[in-house]
């Protein structure tokens, strides 16, 4: 399964499904990471984590561990 974590910097991916449970899953969806949305991975923080992505016209940062629950194509 390819996840958002595997998407390289400067690449885009389309969300297939949000896995995981509880508040992290809820939060990810509330922030607009839902089925079929296009996510662009903009950069990684200077210490190597978290990453910054662009979706729905705004910038979002999330940890690589949390990016693992987002299945992409």
């Amino acid at each position: 399964m390819k996840t958002l974590r595997d998407v390289g910097i400067g690449e885009s991916a389309r969300v297939v499904k949000v896995h995981g449970q509880g508040s992290i899953r809820r939060r990810v969806m509330d922030m607009g990471i839902t089925k079929n949305v296009e996510i662009f991975v903009r950069k990684v923080a200077p210490l190597g984590d978290p990453i910054e992505v662009n979706l729905r016209g705004y910038e979002l940062s999330l940890r690589k561990d949390d990016a693992e629950i987002i299945e992409v194509l």
Binding site: V18, Q21, R27, D30, G32, Y58, E59, R63, I69
Partner: protein, 717 residues
């Protein structure tokens, strides 16, 4: 009759600026009951009977944070007459997600599209009338920053509130979901008020356990609904909650396609261009260091400490002091009253006021960092380092400021959204040696270690180690359990903040400190004056001269508890009382030593000054004493800030107790291990080694409960 209007919106949507524009200075700032989230209320300018409640900034009503819970509970339970939903016009897609949820509550609503000036500049056109029609609510285009259309918004909001009607949400989900929702309303909600049915139906569809319990859905009915949900989930090949989230966004996308028109924008926005540099992989850390150094240098070193010192030593220490004591002597006021006024009250007022310049400067910086959008980048840059210790990337700023003064540092923690992270920061910040601890470090360093260089370095190292170890240990205790805070954070666009908002925020924070903390500090100063300057001479209770301090109440108290500090190597009333006097302000420890061991101000230059100290201390007991002063309970001003930020006596007691325990045990370990090396093993060596083992175990043990539920449901390949 009074009208209540709630202001709701995403973080960074300009909600605070709007609230300030709508209410002016007519605000009351407090806390939501039981938590550390700020609660603001204000009177709508020009409408004296309309009260505005500023809800915490939220992205959703899903209740996965305290802020969301507070907002949801307020909206459901306090029945406001209307909601002003402020949305960022430059970021409509995500902002309108909350709007779809708010609309389902059935409360009349006005949509305020903010930052219209930026929207127009970027070449985007919004057909706000059509947007309003899609949601069934009136829309006002505003700029909170430039205060355009604010009166119009106020007018429309009041008008909407006065209808006392209900909002019937107009957004629809896709056919299958609507069918299921209709069915749920029919079987489970028909005897609830019509305008609330949709909200509950959606929640039941999402299997929200809180709502199921609240409505008291019987098991057979639940099973019946469950069938419906399963059916849809199969049809959509997705889980019900994510179906709803997707469909909300799908609806928004479809609306925006109709109501907005943008010129194909290829170029990066100014904010993106700034961010390319500011959080660039290589430049981010140097830029961060420069900004933090500037904040530190100006607020702690330059303006802050100079003004603070001036207020403390000159204004209060000399000018006012001599004027007042001169007048008092002239009027022949009794000695005890003079003492109370000068040494008690004036000293207390002086110490409160001396915090102010630092605090004002710091809060100006903090609100500038927050409103400009850089604060979110601080968290982005520092997250990796701090999250291991149960802290947030934003904890960096309180820690930095803590090296100047703990009071503003603790208050700076309120920029941290997550409550666990915030509490952890508040508890650990005072471990960092503040400016007032430096004289104590210098005294011990010069008396016993022939210079201050490495001792001072050691003090900072010890402070940082205490923060890190505490973070690792406390994170694993039930106090801080719960899911690890999801770090899914918006990086808002960089914006030039409004001066008015910065000033109002700074004023709110500083004045709330003065109001709440000043009484406590004043009372403490008076109490300390009393116990230091009164005591028994030849069996008679009387007021004391400075030289008679051995006879004071505080000395008697020191004698009573001195045994407790025996294992630390200085179980004698004088150091004990000196350490206690640090509660007023840490530099008082040096003053107390000066009085007890006779090296007051005059002798400060001469080396002989330390003779008294050296006769009573060894380097080892000196080190143990210093460690205790550095790590144990901070001064009363800091404790009262902890009280204010925690908004709970229990947490304050825990914080102070925890710090004192750490200070006591670390000092014990230092003294006992040192004694072991010099004279051999004893019972207390065992205690010290046992404590080290306990700390190591607490640090290394696995977190008792899984920090987070398994990330990926393994049901599919």
């Amino acid at each position: 009759m009074s009208v209540k209007i709630a202001v709701a919106g995403n973080p960074n949507s300009g909600k605070t600026t709007l609230f300030n524009a709508l209410t002016g200075s007519n605000q009351y700032v407090g806390n939501w009951p039981g938590v550390t989230v700020e609660r603001k209320e204000g009177v709508l300018t020009g409408h004296p009977d309309v009260v505005l409640v500023d809800l915490p900034g939220i992205y959703s009503l899903s209740t996965n944070s305290i802020e969301e819970e507070l907002a949801r509970d307020y909206l459901l339970e306090s029945n406001p007459d209307a909601i002003i939903n402020i949305v960022d016009g430059t970021n409509l897609e995500r902002n309108l997600y909350l709007t779809t949820q708010l609309a389902e509550l059935g409360i009349p609503m006005v949509l305020a599209i903010n930052m219209m000036d930026e929207v127009e500049k970027s070449g985007v056109k919004i057909d706000s009338k059509a947007l309003g029609n899609a949601f069934g609510v009136p829309v006002v285009e505003i700029s909170a920053l430039r205060e355009t259309q604010i009166d119009e918004l106020a007018r429309v909001a009041v008008q909407t509130a006065l209808t006392k009607g209900h909002l019937h949400p107009k957004h629809r989900f896709s056919g299958g979901v609507e069918h299921a929702l209709g069915h749920i309303e029919e079987v489970a909600l028909h005897d609830h008020p019509e305008h609330k049915q949709r909200w509950y139906a959606v929640k039941l569809f999402e299997r929200n356990e809180l709502v199921e319990a609240e409505l008291g859905i019987p098991a057979d009915l639940k099973a019946h609904i469950e069938q419906d949900i399963r059916h849809i989930e199969q049809e959509y090949d997705d889980e019900s909650d994510s179906i709803i989230a997707s469909e909300r966004y799908d609806f928004i996308e479809s609306v925006l396609e109709r109501v907005t028109a943008r010129k194909k924008a290829g170029a990066l926005s100014p904010s993106d261009q700034i961010d390319r540099i500011v959080t660039n992989r290589w430049l981010a850390l140097p830029i961060f260091a420069v900004i933090m150094f500037a904040v530190y240098y100006v607020s702690v070193n330059t303006v802050g400490s100079h003004l603070s010192d001036w207020i403390k030593t000159h204004l209060f220490g000399q000018i006012i002091l001599s004027a007042v004591s001169g007048k008092l002597a002239e009027w022949g006021v009794a000695a005890w009253l003079r003492g109370l006024l000068v040494d008690g009250i004036l000293a207390g007022v002086g110490s409160v006021l001396s915090f102010l310049p630092q605090m004002v400067v710091l809060f100006l910086f903090l609100s500038l960092l927050e409103y400009s959008g850089y604060m979110a980048r601080v968290a982005f840059i520092m997250d990796r380092m701090f999250r291991k210790f149960g802290l947030s990337g934003k904890s960096f700023i309180p820690m930095l400021i803590g090296s100047g003064c703990g009071v503003p540092a603790i208050m700076a923690a309120r920029t941290i959204e997550n409550e666990n992270d915030r509490r952890m920061t508040v508890i650990t910040t005072s471990f960092i040696p503040c400016g007032a601890k430096l004289p104590v470090i210098a005294m011990i360093a010069e008396a016993f270690f022939g210079g201050r260089g490495w001792v001072a370095f050691g003090a900072y190292f010890l402070g940082i180690a205490a923060v890190v170890i505490s973070g690792i240990i406390l994170k694993k205790t039930p106090l801080f359990k719960g899911e690890a805070a999801p770090f899914v954070m918006e990086l808002p666009a960089y914006r030039l903040p409004s001066l008015k908002s910065i000033l109002i925020t700074t004023w709110d924070r500083v004045s709330s400190f003065v109001k709440k903390a000043s009484t406590i500090i004043l009372l403490a100063a008076i109490l300390l004056w009393f116990v230091t300057y009164f005591g028994w001479v030849d069996g008679r209770f009387q007021m004391l001269e400075r030289a008679q301090i051995d006879n004071s109440i505080v000395a008697a108290f020191g004698n009573l508890i001195a045994w407790f500090f025996k294992p630390l190597g200085w179980g004698e009333w004088r150091p004990v009382v000196a350490a206690l006097s640090g509660l007023v302000a840490k530099e008082t420890v040096v003053t107390s030593f000066g009085i007890f061991y006779g090296f007051s101000e005059a002798a400060e230059a001469g080396h002989n000054a330390w003779a008294g100290l050296r006769a009573n201390f060894t380097p080892l007991t000196g080190a143990s004493f210093l460690v205790f002063v550095l790590l144990s309970a901070p001064c009363i001003a800091a404790i009262s800030s902890i009280r204010q930020e925690m908004n709970s006596s229990k947490w304050t007691a825990f914080a102070v107790g925890y710090m004192s325990l750490v200070g006591y045990m670390t000092a014990l370990v230092i003294f006992q291990i040192g004694t072991w090396l010099q004279t051999g093993f004893s019972f207390w060596t065992g205690i010290a080694l046992g404590y080290i083992a306990l700390v190591l175990w607490l640090m290394l043990r696995p977190a008792p409960t899984a920090e987070r539920a398994p990330r990926i449901a393994k049901k599919e390949a």
